[in-house]
Symmetry: C4
Subunit: 210 residues, 4 copies
């Protein structure tokens, strides 16, 4: 019944992954042109860094909200969590690939953003797996009532659907697809409602929406 | 009697090691051929990543189950845990070596998978050391009864024996040996029983098998 | 109301970022000149390492003091904390850039230190955001009385103002600007008063000023 | 009075540093000679990895024992802890330098081991600072009686003295000095007594010497 190590391990992975993101911004050092040109040429990497930082940050906030509501930790939950982390851990590499190839244009840029979209979709599928599991009887402190389960499902699966669109859109326009994944992050920063219905509906929590 | 820092430090090492795994998937950037060819050529790295991710994930889940049952933290236990981590920390490097050399074939590929098998065997030996230690009197919350100790030993040592086979098999067929280490991971994902007998035998835990 | 994961995630990011700092000190290995020359040529990297290590260390100490006083964890607080971490995570890369370019001199050195100053300013803005939020009613264990709020604001915003000066000064003299950011770190090591007024004013805490 | 974040942050730094150690073992990949030759040529890196892994592991175990005894967390303690971590974080880089230069021989090898000795000495000084601080009145759960303080000081400072010898010996024989730092690690693995007198003297703890 001990949630603490699940949280500690996940927090560790989120923290390492979010910190590794910045390594993609490393410049090549003296002898590779003026620093200002190097920094300017890195604008796709800075953009991808910003989007990925807030994407991982938001999934951490939502993971936090979701897991803090969970009462029992089963082996299945631990493996669903591993599936989530399997894709979280890919985000720094996928972000670096976008930063490297976005300005190159052509099919390489499209493929780079599509791969990035695959990592985000996988992350979203992993998160949805945990959220779906948490809808089961007696698994959460504040259960989602049966008639609100589909509303909750639509809410936590909609992110994944948008990320599927990112994959498809990438093959039409890489910058547009990257922009769409950025919009998802912006949307979730301002979306006040917690991921699962139950918690946000109680008045005493609506003011602090942890 | 304080298990928390043992868990926190171990979780940190597991989290960093599992996140570093993904760095082996970094492509070389523009000017090194089409991205799609680079990604395709990386299939051994993706395969090794998947196997290693779930292998570290599973040993973390089992470490979690084993340590949460421990009542006393001795200096000896801390050092047995260090032996486990000594090999966990090697897995990202060994995985990268497999990813680099598997497609090369020949003796290099065989040696790469054998080295990978050595890291997995060492990890398994470290885990067995902790498990063996936990069989001692008064060391766990739910002790393993004397007549079940050999069954428990066989269970937690069998992983290490398979990994020994991985080392030997590597010199015959590198892909087969890598596949076998993947099968161990798949087996443990579906193996419902906790590592040590005691915990899984009590009915109230069998439904949630933490 | 659970501060623990906010702290755990932040501690993880601070810990990874502070450890990555040292990677900038890696020498190039045999075949790149005498080791003693390589180490000597790295003096800007060692200096930047020292300043950044204590800068991150101090912001961690102050984050610790600030967050331990917080009673409620809201979604807004989590995002303010993400803004702080967004810039903390940039410090290792910015430090590496300073280490690479400081000795090169010219505009590159100035720009490198200015970029470093931008990362520090951003970190300070993120911290001030959390501190400002914590001044709100009922958000902290030991609230800051209304008449002391401006004093508290001046205290936690002064670091950011000095870092703005670092950015400007960098374009006049890169070493002087780096030195100024080092002075901020030295100042905060000796500054005994906690960041927010309340805590340090109670006599029982003044002796141990956690 | 909250020890938990001091422990969490330190555990994070120890965990990242100990995991980064293994990155020095990365081989260069196909096209740089037979894998078996690359691995064989890396024996100094493997040796340095082993010594550093157990050195960091032991300082973590001793830090664990020392901090778990501390009652009050002051700003001074947090900064003493930062001094310890300043040098812990240097160990992966210093280890990598030893691995790169030991086989090269000559002054470079000697200097590499001397630099390694400096990092270990600094770590030991930082640890001694925390231990010295903990001897003050009312700072620990089990205080060291006044007549045993010098015995405690000799015990926790002796590691640092041996590391000073490592620095000097490095300039005579790099392998001998590295071997001596390895002996310190072996000694502390078998040294049963906790670092500070108090804890180990109570009978109920002598059996489990956490």
């Amino acid at each position: 019944m001990d949630r603490s190590r699940l949280e500690a391990f996940s927090d560790g992975v989120f923290a390492v992954a979010i910190t590794l993101l910045a390594l993609d911004l490393t410049v090549e050092g003296p002898g590779h042109g003026h620093l200002i040109d190097q920094l300017y040429d890195k604008w796709p990497a800075f953009l991808a860094y910003l989007i990925s930082f807030f994407t991982i940050g938001i999934i951490w906030v939502n993971h936090h909200a979701l897991v803090s509501n969970i009462l029992v930790v089963t082996r299945l939950l631990l493996f669903l969590n591993l599936v989530l982390l399997l894709f979280v851990v890919l985000i720094p590499v996928a972000t670096g690939t976008v930063g490297d190839y976005l300005a190159a244009g052509g099919f390489d840029a499209k493929l780079a953003v599509a791969v990035y979209g695959i990592a985000l979709t996988g992350m979203s599928v992993g998160f949805s797996g945990i959220a779906e599991w948490s809808l089961g009887e007696g698994r959460t402190r504040v259960p989602v009532p049966p008639d609100k389960r589909w509303a909750a499902r639509i809410r936590f699966m909609s992110g994944g659907l948008v990320y599927l669109v990112v994959i498809g859109l990438a093959f039409i326009s890489a910058p547009a697809a990257l922009g769409l994944s950025g919009l998802v992050a912006v949307y979730y920063v301002f979306e006040r409602t917690p991921v699962l219905g139950g918690a946000g509906d109680t008045p005493q929590e609506s003011g602090q929406d942890t």
